[in-house]
Amino acid sequence: MTPAIDVINVSKVYRRYAQRKQFATLKSAILSGSLLGDLRPDETFQALRGVSFQVPKGATFGVIGRNGSGKSTLLKCVAGITRPTEGEVRVDGRISALIELGAGFHPEISGRENIFINGIMLGLTKREIQQRFDEIVEFAEMQDFIDAPVKTYSSGMYMRLGFAVAVHVDPEVLLVDEVLAVGDQGFTHKCLDKFAEFRRRNKSILLVTHSLDLVEKFCDEAHWLDKGKTKGEGDPKRVVAAYVIDVEDTEENELAKAEAARLAAAAKEIAAAPPPEPAAVDSGEGAPQGTAEDTAHRDGFKSDDGRWGTREIEIMKVTISGPDGEAGHVFQSGDPIEVRMDVVAKEKTNDFVFGLGLFNADNVCVYGTNTNLEEFQPTEIEGDAAVTFKIDHLDLVEGTYRLDLAAHKADGYPYDYHRLLYTFRVKSRIRDVGIYRPDHSWSFEGGIKISDQK
């Protein structure tokens, strides 16, 4: 059986936009039929590099990948909107591409007329549209507005109508580019039902999306593109898992890079201008302790990052490590993690407190504590030492969090303050909201039927 879509070693090269070569492109396009002419490699951009796959009839195929990985270019090549520079795309049957919904609508004329025009553009005959007209209008939930000019539609109405026409073309092959966000929950379900119906009727779907859930639930096979190359294909669960790990790795690197930059900036700041805090606190030494604590308190809630302190005790290195014991920046919700501070005390002292503050991306303090509050009695610190803060279950919802770390005297006199310098990200498969995810479970009794989809 011939596959519905056969992509054979497809590459696509775009011209980088440069005024200079405009004439050269035009000349070579007319004379030799090749668009790229004699452009140098640095004047081109390779969006796809030798991508091959087959979509069997009746299969749903998901393409995932980061922004700029060539997903949409691939879809356009399959749709025939652009031609691949190398390789070949064969499609068996009528295509309908949900790339931009309602792309052909004319704003001045009514929805009714636009349905006809759009349908004809997508390859239907007038009679076919006539037969499906009511179904289309009903699907788009547009009965009341179908005779109003399209320019008066809201963007949601516009997209719904576009979607309705495109899926009623009755294609053999449906190409979908990230268009499921076209309306309320009810409409999204209707779209998914429509896709399910396509599958039942043995039509093929090529789906480009960032919604990994959708790929796992809906697709028979997944294809992972990275910088225009195939990086994985096959069973959706496996490909999605590999992709998620890769994304985490990248985030990890980015966070590490950003953290290094922040630390460097903080170090420079200190070298340039030692902050006045120590002096201020020194002069206030005679003052009641409450004032100093207030100062520290207020400082503790200012949101800009930075580093200050006398460095009598210095926090040399901070590592956050996950369950595998390796330092990292991306953790799963519920993982055990450890925050380790390597410190050096220049002089022996018995007045020291180590503290930690955890903030979410909105700068809400999720949790803050220190060794003083938890009634540790400092006795002595000297030379190299390490302080580790362990969290047994990182019960946070998905998001980015920042850490405050500090070494100071009991009265707030700062040795070394690291203000929001450390960032880590919590990942979760569950899309719950808030900050804190208490360890929990559900139970159901009586006249209720409910099943766990996990």
């Binding site: 668009l35 909107i81 652009t82 052909g104 005959t125 007038k126």
Partner: protein
């Protein structure tokens, strides 16, 4: 190229729908709506009548009366030509959404532009007929058989040029601005508001090189001047030339086709 050309015929349903859409959309929202298709040429005729009977009296041969009617025979088809050319330069860029997001045969767009303007030209014809009757100009019915031929030649020529210009404008946006001036010059280099006989002797051979000259003279001979249509040899030669222009225009368009989705 020729297989693509054959496809153009398959798209006639689409072309027809888009022409209708264009016409509907053009006057949607205006009070007079479709009547503008009649009023526009009518107003144009009144303006030229006023200028040449009240302001520029005696600037033309008295044998050419009614001069406004003479000019109108040329201006009406010229308007079709010039607005087709000017609009088609922009048509691919304006329809960029279709080319980039939908599998859409791009050549349909300039063809639709030319055809929609042709329909406008047809709407102007009743005004012309009304004035022919008003001035009691006898038109030889046999001569009138040439009229569709002239329209067809102009259509093929205009579509060829529109394909060529629309494709080039995608790469050179400057063309759009330049074109306004070129069309203006072209207007005066074509015997429309002056008869060919009035043109200086040494200029006539140059004017003969202009394809639009022969189209306009043909219209004038059929509709305005009494006597047989003496220009038919030129017209048939131009018909062959128009087909050549169309093929060249289509060739260039076809070669640049792949670039549209990227450059628009």
């Amino acid at each position: 190229m020729f297989s693509n050309l054959a496809k153009l015929l398959r798209y006639r349903g689409l072309i027809q729908t888009l022409v209708v859409r264009d016409l509907k959309a053009r006057y949607r929202g205006s009070v007079l709506g479709f009547f503008w298709s009649f009023f526009n040429p009518l107003l144009l005729l009144l303006i030229y009548s006023f200028v040449f009977t009240q302001v520029l009296v005696g600037a033309h041969d008295p044998a050419m009366e009614p001069y406004a009617l003479f000019m109108f025979c040329g201006i009406l088809p010229w308007t079709w030509f010039s607005s087709s050319i000017l609009e088609s330069a922009n048509t691919l860029i304006a329809g960029g959404n279709l080319i980039k997001k939908v599998l859409f045969p791009a050549e349909v767009l300039p063809v639709v532009t030319v055809l929609a303007n042709m329909v406008h030209f047809f709407f102007g014809l009743p005004v012309l007929v009304a004035f022919l009757i008003y001035y009691r100009r006898p038109v030889d019915p046999l001569e009138l058989l040439w009229f569709p031929v002239i329209v067809l030649v102009q259509l093929v020529f205009t579509i060829g040029l529109a394909l060529f210009l629309s494709a080039l404008t995608v790469h050179f946006r400057d063309l759009k601005d330049l074109l306004g001036n070129i069309v203006q010059l072209w207007f005066f280099a074509t015997p429309i508001i002056y008869p060919m006989q009035q043109a200086p002797e040494n200029m006539r051979s140059w004017l003969n090189l202009n394809p639009m000259t022969h189209i306009m003279i043909s219209y004038q001979e059929v509709l305005f001047f009494p006597g047989p249509h003496g220009h038919w040899k030129w017209l048939l030669a131009l018909a062959a030339g128009s087909i050549a222009v169309f093929l060249i225009g289509y060739f260039v368009f076809d070669r640049l086709r792949d670039s549209f989705a990227e450059e628009v």
